[in-house]
């Protein structure tokens, strides 16, 4: 085969395996075009910036979620752990300074991730159930510690939140740069490859002499680490901790962004670029609905139905993959 033929075949192959991402990207493109015509308010710099910064927290968590889903699990607790991290972070920062605040903000989620990982590997709990418990525990703890009140973040953090490089806010930079790093980690390292293998057939991985437990725990640690990073972005942007994201809706947002990006609840698939696009798509939808004046409750109904459709697509897609 000529080199050109091989190249084009490779591209075709890539496109086929990432069919879903392509579809999402095309839909996004269409939506963007439609919006340009019908809703000029969307394209104000303020709105786009606000949209993208909103995306950044969710996107970071969706990246982490992708790793966990690739390995065949799921992490329901990410937004709640993020809120806990934000609350703990701001509280510690207020009393002990930025350094210890950041330390606390990152170490607590890592502990949560470790517990999740151990629950799934050592105690053989179903990931959904284990992380559901973690979700309730961390949102309960977050509510308890903050007494349902927002804690303001120190000046330094707020300043970081306002910084821009080439006109693009730090939050968006973090989302993009971390995305690139994690994409490499997932697709181009042994760690990522083994996670895909575990999600495809974990018994086969064991027979190859590769320790699966270690990899699974790392995946959950990574997911919680992303929660911590998202918390940082959040308090930098808002200037304070917030409990608004410790909800079922946010949990499902993160999972669905990952699924839209190609991840499957059945394991063995996923993409960081996809998770990014998926987050963008979902948040754009929300943003547009807001601009159209859609009620909050109407929004969650739409979200719920959308999630049902997305779950259905995941099932169909997996079935097709099995057949094909």
């Amino acid at each position: 085969m000529s080199i050109l033929a091989i190249q084009s075949k490779k591209i075709k192959n890539q496109l086929q395996t990432n069919k879903f991402i392509v579809i999402v990207a095309i839909v996004l493109g269409l939506v963007a075009a439609i919006l340009a015509v019908t809703m000029p308010t969307f394209y104000t710099s303020a709105n786009i910036q606000s949209l993208l910064t909103q995306c950044s927290a969710i996107a970071l968590m969706a990246y982490g979620q992708t790793f966990v889903m690739v390995s065949g699990g799921v992490d329901l607790g990410t937004p709640s752990v993020m809120c806990l991290s934000a609350v703990v972070g701001t509280l510690v920062m207020r009393s002990y300074g930025v350094f210890f605040g950041i330390l606390a903000m990152f170490s607590l989620p890592l502990l949560c991730g470790l517990i999740n990982g151990l629950a799934v590997t050592r105690f053989k709990m179903i990931p959904f159930v284990a992380t559901l418990v973690m979700m309730m525990l961390s949102s309960g703890a977050a509510t308890q510690l903050s007494h349902s009140v927002s804690t303001p973040a120190p000046e330094v953090i707020v300043a970081i939140g306002k910084t821009t490089f080439i006109g693009i806010p730090v939050a968006i930079w973090i989302m993009l740069v971390v995305g690139v790093i994690l994409h490499i980690l997932l697709k181009k390292t042994a760690f990522g490859r083994v996670l895909f293998a575990i999600g495809t057939n974990s018994d086969a991985v064991t027979s190859c002499g590769i320790p699966t437990n270690r990899h699974l725990v790392l995946a959950y640690l990574l997911s919680s680490l992303m929660s911590a990073l998202a918390a940082f972005v959040l308090i930098a942007r808002l200037g304070a901790s917030s409990l608004s994201l410790a909800s079922d809706s946010a949990s499902l947002d993160v999972i669905c962004s990952a699924i839209l990006g190609g991840a499957s609840i059945y394991g063995g698939a996923g993409s960081i670029l996809g998770a990014f696009l998926g987050t963008l798509a979902l948040q754009t939808l929300q943003n547009v609905m807001n601009l159209f004046g859609v009620d909050y409750f109407e929004m969650i109904i739409v979200k719920g139905v959308l999630i049902l459709f997305i779950t259905y697509f995941d099932t169909i897609r997996t079935w097709l993959r099995g057949k094909a």
Partner: protein
């Protein structure tokens, strides 16, 4: 005998390109037990599953008392009074014995719309009593032994008014007491003019309990005889072929240097105090009947199933024998599992990823060099003649033989000193089989050692320098190359 009979005529069944049953015909009579014997894959279970309605035949017919019947599902089988006693009892652990027995006939024990437990327990006792068994019908199935669960299935069969009872390898997990009990029950069933069909590979049982034996090999019937007219030798000939003895390759000189030493390996109840040594450059065959514990021994050795006792020592690069704790041995060998579909292949992942997975360190310390991986894969594809347009094809699209070659390629790529192969040519076509055999021989000629588990007598004879016979989870004898014949292997595994 009466005129109660069950006949199968010209039954054919294909499974994904392999002819599992070829024109099978035989007749079983009331009051008799008919044995279905043959080595693994001969087609016995497939035939039973067709009779029990769990799978459908491609062509052929089934007759009861000379009248043809149709069996399309289990309900049909039960209607025709056929019941299958499965190798693994179909039971519900969280329900009681009585509930298990009558779970699909609960309406018979209803009074005013509610289950009449006293009547159910009473009836259960009756059937259990008929089998001479004293289990409290109120006990939860999770608290009774496997032998008792089997009896539960028999009682269920009786309660469904079955007159044709099929047994699938019933004695593999029974104690001697339970086996005696089972035989008494079978004799009783025979006296009541039931038809018994009995799958086993314990040939001594065939002579003990069955009046007739149908021998199968490679899906076809190779023998049909009254047991009083036959000996074990006759059966063995019919099971493995009466052809001229395969030319067994000449004896090789094997080095004395051990590469693997296993001492006192125990994992109750399937692995009992196993001791053996593998030498450098040797191909050690492990042969035994189904249920003898071959795979269990290997899995215990590799710590895939944690053993209760045992020391495993492996020769390091420096020539010293070191104890391997935990899964250390697994990380140093190439292990081809018994069933590639279960724990071998990564479906939907391309060939090259399936090949490079055990040794990714070779391709980069952090970032994997995909080009190098693909090169390595392409090399293996060429060397093993894996039939595929390129290395990107997902493995599920390959034929069985090519899939197994991918698994072999995976390990060859890692270049271990010891290969452990469990049924390496199962479900593989003749050409691929020969290619894999060639590979194994080449590997050992280059100094590599192999542990080979196989149910295919030809394969074991062809490749092994030495064969260890397994029975009841322990090695009972060792056969050297010059003594190897099919007869010897079969005999050794039976006594």
């Amino acid at each position: 005998m009466g005129n109660f009979s069950l006949s199968v005529k010209n039954v054919n069944k294909q499974f994904g390109g392999v002819q599992a049953l070829k024109d099978v015909s035989f007749t079983a009579y009331g009051g008799e037990a008919l044995a279905l014997i043959g080595i693994n894959g001969a087609g016995k279970s497939t035939m039973m599953n067709i009779l029990a309605g769990e799978i459908k035949m491609d062509s052929g017919s089934i007759h009861i008392n000379e009248e043809e019947i149709k069996i399309n599902n289990q309900k049909d089988a039960v209607k025709n009074r056929i019941s299958l006693i499965h190798q693994e009892a179909v039971v519900f652990k969280d329900l009681s014995v009585a509930e298990n027995m009558f779970i699909n006939q609960l309406d018979r024990y209803m009074k005013n719309g509610v289950i009449n437990y006293p009547k159910m327990f009473e009836t259960a006792n009756e059937y259990l009593g008929k089998l001479g068994v004293a289990i409290n019908p109120k006990t939860l199935v999770q608290d009774i032994t496997i032998g008792d669960r089997q009896l539960l299935e028999i009682a269920r069969a009786l309660s469904q008014d079955s007159k044709i009872i099929l047994f699938d390898e019933p004695t593999s997990s029974l104690t001697i007491e339970e086996k005696k009990r089972l035989f008494e029950i079978i004799n009783q069933l025979k006296q009541e003019n039931n038809i018994i069909i009995y799958i086993t590979h314990f040939l001594d049982e065939v002579l003990e309990i069955c009046e007739r034996a149908v021998v199968m090999m490679d899906g076809a019937v190779t023998g049909n005889t009254k047991t009083e007219d036959a000996t074990i030798d006759d059966f063995v000939k019919m099971m493995v072929g009466n052809s001229i003895e395969t030319v067994v390759n000449g004896e090789r000189t094997i080095s004395d240097t051990p590469i693997l030493k296993v001492k006192n390996l125990t994992r109750a109840p399937m692995v009992n105090d196993v001791n053996f040594i593998v030498h450098q450059g040797e191909i050690l065959g492990i042969w035994g009947l189904l249920g003898s514990g071959r795979t269990e021994i290997i899995r215990a050795m590799l710590n895939l199933d944690k053993p209760q006792k045992g020391i495993v020592e492996f020769r390091g690069q420096d020539g010293k024998m070191r104890e391997m704790r935990g899964r250390k041995l697994l990380q140093n060998v190439g292990y081809v599992t018994e069933d590639r579909h279960v724990d071998g292949l990564f479906f939907h992942m391309p060939i090259w990823k399936n090949i490079t997975i055990p040794d990714l360190k070779k391709f980069g310390s952090f970032i994997l060099d995909e080009k190098k991986e693909r090169e390595a894969a392409k090399k293996q594809i060429a060397a093993l003649e894996i039939k595929t347009p390129d290395e990107d094809v997902p493995v599920d699209k390959l034929s069985g033989g090519n899939q197994q070659k991918v698994i072999m390629a995976r390990w060859i790529n890692k270049q271990p000193n010891l290969f452990i192969l469990d049924e390496p040519t199962r479900g593989v076509d003749v050409n691929a089989k020969n290619a894999i055999h060639k590979l194994i021989k080449e590997f050992s000629e280059q100094g590599g050692s192999v542990i080979l588990i196989s149910s295919e007598i030809e394969e074991i004879l062809n490749l092994s320098d030495r064969v260890l016979i397994v029975k009841d989870g322990t090695f009972v004898s060792e056969v050297a190359k010059r003594q190897m014949t099919k007869q010897v292997l079969m005999e050794q595994s039976l006594c």
